[in-house]
Structures are given as structure tokens and as C-alpha cells.
């Protein structure tokens, strides 16, 4: 029956590991600003997309002005991104 010592020991060790993780995260300032990271994490994906879209737009302008369909595509994706960002900003303003 002394297996209960083992079980208790394991459960307490796991709890203490999480507790230490909490203390470390508070110490490193993760709880000081609980808001900005929630906005920041939404940028990264769009940032990658954006830079490619942007290059795309520039190339179309340089190479041929007739290929406007491509530009329309670009502006469509941008419009979608716009919508996302409007939602984002709504949440910011609340």
C-alpha cells in the first residue's frame, strides 16, 4: 500500500513544477502587460502575407500595368485583411 506515497509524491512534484513555472513567468514580467501580446500574436501571419502581397503589387506595377486582375486579387486579400483588422480594433477599443 505504500504506493500511495509514490502517487502523492508524483502529484505534488507535478504541482510544484507548475507552481515554479508560474513564479518564473511572473518574475520575467509576463503578467505585467496582459494585453499587447494578444494583439501581437495576430500580426505575425499577416505580416508574412503582407510582405509577399506587397512585393507582388510592386512587381505588377513595374512589369505590366495591364495585368490588373492580379492587382484586384491583391486588393481583395487586403480587403479581407482589413475586415480582420477592423474586428481587431473593435476589440481594442472595448
Amino acid at each position: 500500500m505504500s504506493v500511495i506515497y509514490l502517487l502523492l509524491g508524483i502529484s505534488i512534484i507535478v504541482a510544484i513544477i507548475f507552481f515554479i513555472a508560474f513564479i518564473v513567468s511572473v518574475r520575467s514580467g509576463q503578467y505585467d502587460d496582459s494585453y499587447t501580446p494578444s494583439v501581437r500574436m495576430l500580426f505575425d501571419d499577416e505580416l508574412v502575407k503582407e510582405s509577399s502581397t506587397l512585393r507582388g503589387t510592386k512587381q505588377t506595377v513595374k512589369s505590366d500595368k495591364k495585368s490588373q486582375s492580379k492587382q484586384i486579387d491583391c486588393s481583395a486579400t487586403l480587403a479581407i485583411e482589413n475586415k480582420k483588422s477592423i474586428q481587431l480594433n473593435k476589440s481594442l477599443n472595448n
Binding site: M1, A15, Y31, D33
Partner: protein, 798 residues
């Protein structure tokens, strides 16, 4: 988006927009920012949010002081040969675009390694290599893209403050221990470990000592670290002979701990470790909830937050040098550039001084000064540079001296007894009476149970729910007010606000707006030609009154004047063809002895014949009359103005009859006025705006600052009200009164729980499981009740 609005900042582009890259811009500044962003692959900025920018204001030489190594040393958070870290406060940060562009600063200056925005605080932390760039370059870049950092004397004097995270640690420890103790007491809850004879589980019974001592170990850090604040607060209260709410709490904690420990030592029972850790966890949770702070606002500002770090001093050989404001001595010659603040009292030597005292007095109209006039610290020079001679040092100036008054050293909160504390006193007496009378009863009936009953009463009566009612109600109220743009310093301010019976208002800038002014024309009517001539003459003048009058007059065709002359300190003169116009002071236009010197007026004469004058009047905020009418029903009102009596009649017409009006009140007078009211037993609310109200705001029970732009200019106060919400002020006061009522109702509710608990305690049948159910149940129902009630209250507010 409107077609005629600037692509960068969203302002109306007026008549002459600038076209660039198929977009329109209101000014060259905005166009430049767009150009910088688009040429650096940062135009995603505009996709995130349309028109998020601000048009940059760049003033030559404004940041020259950042060349000074001593100043840099004070401003940066970390300084090393290869790395400097600086935290800058940028008031313009307001949307996701701002975060995005500011965190991509390294695309503009590659030597910036990282930049991180703290959105709630509106600050940015920039890491850069000082060998390749400098703080000045970084700040100028930020200014160029419309994110001008706000650097004031306060940044210079304040040494870096450490963030206090102890409450988070305590909460973490209490939560951690609470969860684990609950988990360890499950065998007890299911009664599995009761004696073998009554059918208890054999193997759990065998190990109950392990479980109990583990619970004891977990409770140690909770009592001696997380709960330590309650002991010190109760001790402080007792030493100053006050029975505050922490006294019964501390008593409850001690009794819980001692009784539980002795129970497990002598093997009487499992103890109340679950209730003990739970109690402290819930109490800390309440504290955490109450601690809502508006980190982007500051309620403790003194003049240092407004004053610049450095000024330009002119040496005897006419050389300019940048010097720290603290080093300015009497007799120094200072150069005040466009848009710079005058740091000390002095005499104007030369230059065209138009000084805006709006954040000293709230007066929106700039004041014109002539060489030789005395100018006071706190004014902002508009248009052009001036040279002045300092008469005093910074700390001795007329305005800054106000801060040496003792009200600024006093801590208002220590004197105020909160509702919870006043209840706590009666509650402690009640609980002790019950505990002792129950023990006396049991002494005669069954002496073996005396100790059990006595401790059980103290345990169950521990006023957890009472202590939670106020933090949760007021904390939630604080958030609701914050959403309505009424920012309060702490929850105590709501309690104080509910108690006020007198409200004192400042006039200029508080009940008048700083943005608009209106002028009425008195005199002979002007012909069409004369009006056109007037407008064209005003166009050439830079005098603040001419500018405001120019804005107010109807559009006229632009005509080039044949002659134009500006007479400093008197007025302006212009002529087209045969007609000639003089605009300016009464004497200048040939009107003898002005009878109405109290109002600001611009007099006009054409062809040497006096026509009339434009009288400038204050524009009152929307709904002033209604606010005063509503408030006069429950409160005593008065107006304290630093101005002359020029507006007296208009105010009397606007406000409820017999509202006392006091004019020509200097800042110390305002403070004394409030003090004398308080000495007569009044609870005073002061509503003001400028630095000249700072003394009165600090002295009053509740000082509310009205601000057009909450992030920048507001003196030290208890609350900041956005100017657009001025008309709601009365409903906010009523709401805080209702919030106090909610607290009183939740006291009744929690007392009911206590009565039930006391029944078990007094009859000597308090089992740990009853305590473990009652305590969280009462706490949670109080939290639910107050949250719902305050949210209903908040829905009614606008």
C-alpha cells in the same frame, strides 16, 4: 472613409489637399510619414486600420538636450557600450496599427534591435546600439512618424521604480495551496477515513496522518506569506485603536490555524486547512480585483510631469547651450522656442510672445506679452522664439510653489474610514460577544466543548464575504466608470464620491470648453466690403486673437492688401484702394476710455471712424445648465474662478439661482476656500482642470479633473473625467451612491450566511465539511450578486 479626408491621419483636408501616390493628404507632414512607411515596406500600417496616424510636429532643436550624456544616463533603463534600453511614453498609441509599426522600427533604423509596445501603458521599450545610432535619433524618428514621445522632468527625477508583483505571488501561492489542500482533504469529505469501527476504509485510515501533515505543510506558506498582510493591517489598526475589518479576519486566520494544527497533533480530527487556504485565496482574489489601475493615466502628477528636462540658455557671448532645468539660475538668459514651455518666472527680453496658459488656468485664448512684461512659468510659447531672463529658479516660481503646500504631502486615504471598516468594528464586537456568551453557556452545560465552540464561532464568523463585498462591487464599478471615460484612482474614491454634499467648480476650462470660442459683434453693422477687408487684414496677422477671429468670420475672397502694418501690442492696420481698417485695442482704433475692460474685445474702425467691437465670450460645455440643475437638487454648488467678473451675468443666467460665484480666486485662495468648507463639516468635491486648481483638487475630498485629452494634461487628482462626458457627471455621482447601497445589501446577505454558520458553531456541531461548504458558497454568492447588481447599474449609465 470620406473622400476628402487625409489618408494618413483622417483629418479633413480642407481646400488644398496634397496629392501623392493617388492618395490625398492634409499636410506635408502626413505625406512624408506615408512616404517613409511605403518606401520601407511598412504600408501594412494603413491596412490594419485606416487613417491611424497623427500628423507629425517637428520643431527644430527641440530634442537637442538628448545629446547630453548626463541626461541620457538618467533617461535610459540600461546603458552599456553596445546596448541602450529606453522606455518612452507615447500618448498617441491607440490601435493595432500603432503596435505594429512601432514594433517594426528596426526597418527604419537597423541598429534598433527590438522595440516592444506595452499597449495599456502606452509605452515602448526600445533596445538599440548606441554606437550606430543615438537616443536623439530614435526620438526624432518617432517624432517624424507621428509618434512623439512625451519626455518630461518627471522622467528625469524619478529613478526607475520596481514593479510590485507581490500580490500576484501571494495569489499564486494561496491558489496553489488551496487546490492541493482541497485535493488532499477528499478522503475526509467522503468520510472514508473515519474509524475502522464505523466502516471506514482501512487503507485510507492508515495513511490519514500523511494527508493531514501534508495539508499542514501546504498551509504554512499561505498563513505566513500570503496572509501576512492581514496581520500587519490588523496590528496597525489596533495600535491606532481602530477595529478595522482586518481584525476579525486576522483573528479568524489565527484561530483556524492554531485549532487545525492542534487537532492533527492530538489526532482529534482533520482540521480546517481547506477553509483556511480557501479563505485567504478568496480574500486575495478580492484584493486583486480591486486593484484595477489605469496604467496609462497618472493621478499623482505635479508640475514635473509638464516641465521639460532641459532648456536652451544663451551665454554672454551669444552662444547657445542646452542646460538642465534644475540648473537655471536667476539672471540666466533663456531661449524659448516655438511650442516650448516656459520653465521659470521671468521677464520677456525680446520676441513676439503669445503665451498659452491653458494647462495652468484652462484659458484657451493665448496671451500676448511685450518685451519687459513679466511672464510666468507654465505657459507655452506659440509661434516663434522668444528670449527671456529668469527671475527665479524652477522650484521657486509662482506656480511651482503651490506644491510646497502641506496638502501634497498628506495621504488622504489614511484618514478616510471605509464602509467595510466601519462595519468591521461592529461586527468584531458582535462576534466576540457571541463567542464569549456561547462559551459561558457551555461551561455550565458541557465544559469539554467550550474550546471547540469558542473557536468554531471565530472560524465561521470570519467575515470573508463581508470583506469581499466591497472590493468586488467597487472594483466592478471602477471598470464600468472607466468604460464611460470616467477614470477613478481607486475604489475608495467611489465611496467618497457617494458621500459628498458640496460641489465646487472651476470656471475656465472646466465648464467652458478650451476648443471653441465665440465672439459677438457689438456696434454699427459692417458692409460687405468692410467685412472682406477685415478678413484679409486678419489673415496677415499672427496674433492669437486675430487668428481666432479669422476662424470665426465667414469665408471671403483672398485679396492682396495694398498696405499692411502691425503695431506691436496695439493692433493691425490694413488698406485696399481707398478704404482703410484698424483692428485692435480700444485706444488704437480711436475709441476713448473703454467702459468694458473685463471682456476680451477686438475693436474695429474703418477710415478713422469707430465701428464696433467683437467681444469674445467663453463657450460653455454642452449641458452645463442641466448638470447644475440636476446637481443643485442634492448638492450645494459654487463656482470658484481665477478670472475677473466679466462673465458674471451670463453665468447667473445659466446656473440655478443663488449659486454662489467667486471671482479673482488665486490658487491658494481656492485651497483655503475648500479647507474652510471642510472645517464646517462639508464633504467637498472639486471639479477643475488646470494646474492652478491642483491645490484645491488635493485638498478636497474628491478632486475630479476635466480633461479634453485624458492621456496628457491633468493635474494630480482622484479622478479624471473625459470632457465629452461632463453632462453625465451627476448620474455618475448617483451611481456611486447606488453602489454603496449594493454593498449594504450584500452585507445583509453575508450576515444571513453567518447566522446559519453560527447556529452550527454555537451548538457545537461544526464539522470541517460544513465550513468548507459554507465559506466558498457565501463568498461566491456575494461575488455573483455584486457583479450582477453593478452590471445592471452600469447598463443605465450613458
Amino acid at each position: 472613409m470620406n473622400k476628402n479626408n487625409c489618408y494618413h491621419c483622417g483629418e479633413d483636408c480642407s481646400v488644398t489637399p496634397i496629392h501623392f501616390d493617388e492618395k490625398i493628404f492634409c499636410c506635408n507632414g502626413c505625406k512624408t510619414v506615408y512616404d517613409i512607411f511605403s518606401s520601407n515596406n511598412l504600408s501594412y500600417y494603413y491596412d490594419l486600420q485606416a487613417a491611424a496616424g497623427a500628423s507629425p510636429k517637428v520643431v527644430q532643436g527641440k530634442y537637442d538636450f538628448l545629446d547630453d550624456a548626463a541626461i541620457i544616463e538618467r533617461l535610459v533603463a540600461f546603458n552599456d557600450e553596445h546596448l541602450q534600453i529606453v522606455n518612452l511614453y507615447i500618448p498617441h498609441i491607440h490601435c493595432s496599427s500603432c503596435i505594429w509599426v512601432l514594433e517594426n522600427l528596426n526597418k527604419l533604423i537597423p541598429s534598433i534591435s527590438t522595440s516592444q509596445v506595452d499597449f495599456p501603458k502606452k509605452t515602448i521599450r526600445i533596445h538599440y546600439n548606441p554606437e550606430k545610432t543615438s537616443l536623439k535619433e530614435v526620438v526624432i524618428l518617432l517624432t517624424h512618424i507621428g509618434y512623439e514621445p512625451y519626455i518630461s522632468l518627471d522622467d528625469f527625477d524619478n529613478k526607475k521604480k520596481d514593479v510590485d508583483r507581490s500580490l500576484l505571488y501571494k495569489l499564486g501561492i494561496a491558489g496553489f495551496a488551496f487546490g492541493n489542500v482541497m485535493f488532499l482533504s477528499f478522503p475526509e469529505y467522503f468520510d472514508l477515513s473515519s474509524s475502522k469501527a464505523s466502516g471506514g476504509e482501512y487503507w485510507l485510515n492508515q495513511y490519514e496522518g500523511v494527508f493531514r501533515w501534508l495539508m499542514f505543510t501546504f498551509s504554512l506558506p499561505v498563513v505566513f506569506y500570503a496572509g501576512i498582510g492581514y496581520f500587519t493591517s490588523a496590528y496597525k489598526g489596533l495600535r491606532s485603536k481602530i477595529l478595522n475589518i482586518d481584525v476579525p479576519i486576522a483573528l479568524g486566520i489565527i484561530v483556524l490555524f492554531v485549532r487545525s494544527t492542534s487537532e492533527i497533533i492530538f489526532d482529534w480530527g482533520p482540521g480546517f486547512f481547506d477553509s483556511l487556504t480557501g479563505l485567504i485565496f478568496f480574500l486575495l482574489l478580492g484584493k486583486f480585483f480591486q486593484q484595477k489601475t489605469y496604467s496609462f493615466l497618472s493621478f499623482e502628477r505635479d508640475y514635473k510631469s509638464y516641465f521639460p528636462i532641459a532648456v536652451t540658455r544663451i551665454l554672454e557671448n551669444r552662444k547657445e547651450e542646452t542646460t538642465q532645468v534644475h540648473n537655471v539660475k536667476r539672471g540666466d538668459r533663456l531661449l524659448i522656442r516655438n511650442e516650448e514651455l516656459i520653465p521659470v518666472d521671468g521677464i520677456l527680453i525680446n520676441g513676439n510672445a503669445n503665451i498659452d496658459y491653458s494647462f495652468v488656468t484652462g484659458e484657451s485664448e493665448a496671451v500676448h506679452k511685450n518685451s519687459g512684461d513679466k511672464i510666468f512659468a507654465g505657459g507655452k510659447q506659440l509661434r516663434g522664439a522668444i528670449e527671456m531672463e529668469a527671475l527665479k529658479s524652477v522650484s521657486q516660481s509662482y506656480l511651482t510653489q503651490l506644491w510646497s503646500n502641506s496638502v501634497f504631502q498628506d495621504d488622504k486615504s489614511s484618514k478616510f474610514q471605509t464602509l467595510t471598516d466601519s462595519i468591521g468594528k461592529r461586527f468584531t464586537i458582535f462576534v466576540l460577544t457571541v463567542a464569549f456568551s456561547a462559551s459561558i453557556f457551555w461551561t455550565f452545560y458541557d465544559p469539554s466543548k467550550v474550546l471547540n465552540v469558542f473557536t468554531a464561532v471565530l472560524i465561521i464568523a470570519c467575515p470573508c464575504a463581508i470583506a469581499l463585498a466591497s472590493p468586488f462591487t467597487l472594483g466592478n464599478m471602477l471598470r464600468i466608470f472607466g468604460k464611460k471615460k470616467f477614470y477613478l484612482k481607486d475604489t475608495q474614491t467611489i465611496e467618497q464620491l457617494a458621500q459628498i454634499d458640496t460641489a465646487i467648480f472651476d470656471k475656465t476650462g472646466t465648464i467652458t470648453t478650451a476648443k471653441k470660442s465665440i465672439a459677438t459683434y457689438e456696434g454699427l453693422e459692417l458692409t460687405k466690403e468692410e467685412e472682406a477687408l477685415l478678413k484679409n487684414t486678419l489673415r496677415a496677422s499672427n496674433h492669437p486673437l486675430s487668428r481666432s477671429l479669422y476662424e470665426l468670420l465667414a469665408e471671403q475672397d483672398i485679396v492682396t492688401l495694398d498696405e499692411y502694418e502691425e503695431h506691436l501690442g496695439k493692433g493691425i492696420e490694413g488698406s485696399i484702394d481707398e478704404s482703410n481698417i484698424k483692428v485692435g485695442s480700444a485706444n488704437f482704433v480711436g475709441k476713448i476710455a473703454s467702459d468694458d475692460a473685463k471682456n476680451t474685445a477686438v475693436h474695429i474702425s474703418t477710415n478713422d471712424m469707430y465701428k464696433g467691437c467683437f467681444v469674445f465670450k467663453n463657450q460653455y460645455r454642452e449641458g452645463v445648465a442641466e448638470v447644475f440643475k440636476e446637481m443643485s437638487e442634492t448638492l450645494q454648488l459654487a463656482i470658484l474662478s481665477g478670472d475677473n467678473e466679466g462673465e458674471k451675468e451670463r453665468l447667473e443666467a445659466l446656473l440655478p439661482k443663488l449659486t454662489p460665484l467667486y471671482f479673482n480666486q488665486k490658487p491658494p485662495d481656492k485651497l483655503e476656500f475648500i479647507k474652510s468648507l471642510q472645517n464646517n463639516g462639508k464633504k467637498v468635491m472639486m471639479v477643475g482642470d488646470g494646474l492652478n486648481d491642483a491645490g484645491a483638487l488635493a485638498q478636497s475630498n474628491v478632486g475630479i479633473a476635466i480633461s479634453e485629452n485624458v492621456t496628457i494634461f491633468s493635474p494630480a487628482c482622484d479622478g479624471i473625467l473625459d470632457a465629452t462626458k461632463f453632462k453625465e457627471l451627476c448620474s455618475y455621482i448617483l451611481a456611486s451612491k447606488k453602489a454603496i447601497k449594493i454593498i449594504k445589501w450584500s452585507f445583509v446577505l453575508s450576515l444571513m450566511y453567518n447566522v446559519v454558520g453560527l447556529y452550527f458553531a454555537v451548538t457545537g456541531q461544526l464539522e470541517p465539511v460544513i465550513a468548507a461548504i459554507l465559506m466558498p458558497l457565501s463568498s461566491i454568492s456575494i461575488v455573483v450578486f455584486t457583479t450582477i447588481a453593478t452590471n445592471i447599474l452600469g447598463k443605465k449609465l450613458r
